[in-house]
Symmetry: C2
Subunit: 420 residues, 2 copies
């Protein structure tokens, strides 16, 4: 007997027919004698609908009220899955974030889980009842509803798996594993049997859309065995039909050597902000990012151009597109203390990254990238690197072309097109 | 300075533009120096959407999970109205049912409010913050989400008005008051300046669609001054532009005498059940209704035909259409103990009622009704009477015709058609 946390994404929960399929899959897991908790996302499109309501109501909405609104999507699907399970004769009940509770900090709209009370949960599972838990939501110490930020249901699932000491956390999604890149863009992308937490972290953070970054970081920290698999494939007797996310130690040395690049990732949800004529003095850059950090706005790629003769410089960076209005508001209020000239922003950009644990021991990865992109006339607006990735910002219209070019350039294409 | 509870129905909350209008109206009330709590319904159509999800998931859904699902509609609108108020510069926050809490019994899907904790609410209002409260929802002692049954937001509003000792409870809806009948059916219906709690109770219970029955009963019991008014009319300086619902003592004797019939009501949401060959012995009828009561299913019109020569009888009664599947399930399980022959059901029926406090002192009301209906060839399937109303069940197709015929028969038509 094992204890399994299953997590189903928005496309798996989109409509009653699919929720019934999810219930069948959960039932099969219980019939193996396993204790099961299920974490669910909102129906595909529902969170967008709710977020848009908030934006329409006010571009500078109160994140505490935003959380009240958007947390409802998962509340709906958790109730419906409990009903669907019961109709299959499986004992089940929903546990809302505030009922367990799942305690978070008070960073509304991007809260972090601090602690999960598992007593009731473990007792229910031990009594043979499937616990259905809405992902993405929790409760702050103030007693108010919080949400974890977009894609937060993965983090909920991993956090619950860690808290109940689950044997495995299975993340069911609309793809059957982690690919070298998005197969919707590159049909010849290959499925990976294993990736390391570290690679997955980069793939997720740069928009591979399979798992949320924080969930992978949390899995790495807590040592949760995570599997990514499809909720649409026919169930198999194979214990691990998807992609396992594992520690470095589970990847063989020979594999490390062979595999220079694991995958290519694309992120279209960033927006670029440029502040011109920032004073070229110590502390000037800090004065830009401190107020953004205080507002819980994530900043990614940062580029500072060389100083002008005038003693000032331009600073360019990216923020999540959803945070752009808030970021601009924060920066305009701080214009006096930062002392910049103009604020320019651009949402028509994207970030393309090549990722691989092999990269740290190889030279030439970046130059292959720049050569390949230049060969198609794709202009690079900014570059950022880490030990296991190289990212570039380019014009959004070139996104898919760039991914295809790089997938081929690094020899990642499958020998022939996958069968449909 | 007064303390006002304002309640807005689903059509008033249907979409951000309308929610913004509601916010403007609430702002105006705060600018008069009043303390304000607002109770909101879900967006029109949203509760139906959620109820349908539950029914699709299982016709015999767990009402505890149903409540988890359907309570989200009001959660969404309460967060959105708080955001809209803030964007107008009005301090506001949402208070969910479990946050106050609004304590109810555990009759899920048709729970009753037992107690409302008002300390935080009164403190917030005293500090000049508008409290936005989702209607229709509460929390059982088990800590699970409950809902009050369809239209329950009116009851929430009146219960909150009673708990905070509000000076008035203004129910904003899509009509500008209580009419002699539904003006969508009879354009020459007249708006009533005053109705008694008792009349309103009958008008609401028979489907006048303006206020939920329980809310009126509660208002009568708690002495809450309720006003029904339109959220779409231009705001006026008139303190009470709608219909005031008042005690008998506020209706003058001369008015009572003059006004035989106050209004005609129509209810299409009932379903008829007939049990054939019920044993004609003491306790037989009780054995039918006891299990329905245990299942919290409301039974309305009950007709027992004269006994057959065989020593058995047919029993006909109505239940809310939404409860039909559950009622049938309960009755089929109890077939052995009741000992009936067949169960027949019919949803193509409606109930038409004439209501008036004057009725108790007048004869001939019922005979006018039967004559008028017979004159149009409308067959009466069952009759029920109370001190201030006479109701008949008829085939649903004749619903509007019957209302129009009776409105004219009792002299309720306005002198000429209302202007658009």
């Amino acid at each position: 007997m094992a204890r399994i946390v299953m997590k189903f994404g928005g496309t798996s929960m989109a409509g009653i027919e699919r929720i019934r399929n999810v219930a069948e899959r959960v039932k099969r897991e219980t019939e193996r004698g396993n204790e099961v908790a299920v974490v669910v996302s909102a129906m595909a499109g529902d969170t967008d609908r709710l977020v848009n309501f908030c934006r329409e109501a006010s571009s500078l909405y109160d994140p505490r009220e935003y959380d009240v609104v958007v947390a409802t999507g998962e509340q709906v699907t958790s109730g419906l899955l409990a009903i669907a399970l019961q109709s299959l004769g499986v004992k089940a009940r929903s546990w809302l974030g505030w009922q367990l509770p799942i305690r978070t900090n008070d960073a509304h709209a991007s809260a972090r889980i601090q602690d999960i009370d598992t007593e009731a949960l473990i007792a229910a599972m031990a009594a043979g009842e499937v616990a259905v838990i809405p992902g993405f939501q929790g409760m702050a110490e103030s007693g108010r509803v919080t949400t974890l930020g977009r894609g937060g249901s993965d983090t909920s699932a991993v956090a619950i798996a860690a808290a109940v000491k689950a044997d495995r956390c299975d993340i069911y999604t609309d793809v059957d594993g982690v690919y070298t890149t998005d197969p919707r863009i590159v049909p010849r992308a290959r499925k990976l049997a294993k990736v390391t937490y570290e690679e997955m972290l980069e793939l997720a953070s740069v928009g591979a859309k399979v798992l949320q970054t924080r969930s992978v970081g949390l899995a790495m920290k807590e040592g949760v065995r995570v599997q990514v698999l499809s909720s649409f494939d026919a169930p198999t007797d194979d214990e691990t039909p998807g992609t396992m996310i594992v520690g470095d130690n589970e990847i063989e040395e020979s594999e490390m050597e062979r595999q220079r690049i694991t995958g290519i990732a694309l992120d279209k949800n960033e927006a670029k902000i440029t502040l011109t004529e920032v004073p070229d003095r110590p502390g000037a850059v800090a004065s830009i990012f401190a107020p953004l950090a205080d507002a819980n706005i994530n900043v990614d790629v940062i580029v500072q151009n060389i100083a002008h003769d005038t003693g000032s410089t331009d600073v360019t960076f990216t923020v999540p597109g959803a945070e752009l209005a808030r970021a601009i508001d924060v920066l305009e209020k701080a214009q006096g203390s930062i002392g910049y000239g103009n604020l320019r922003h651009d949402t028509k950009i994207c970030k393309v990254s090549v990722v691989g644990v092999g990269m740290r021991s190889h030279a030439g990865v970046a130059s292959t990238m720049f050569t390949a992109l230049a060969g198609r006339g794709i202009n690079i607006q900014a570059i950022a690197t880490s030990e296991i990735k190289v990212s570039v910002l380019i014009e959004e219209d070139y996104a898919e072309l760039a991914v295809r070019v790089l997938h081929t350039a690094y020899g990642l294409d499958a020998p022939e097109a996958l069968e449909a």
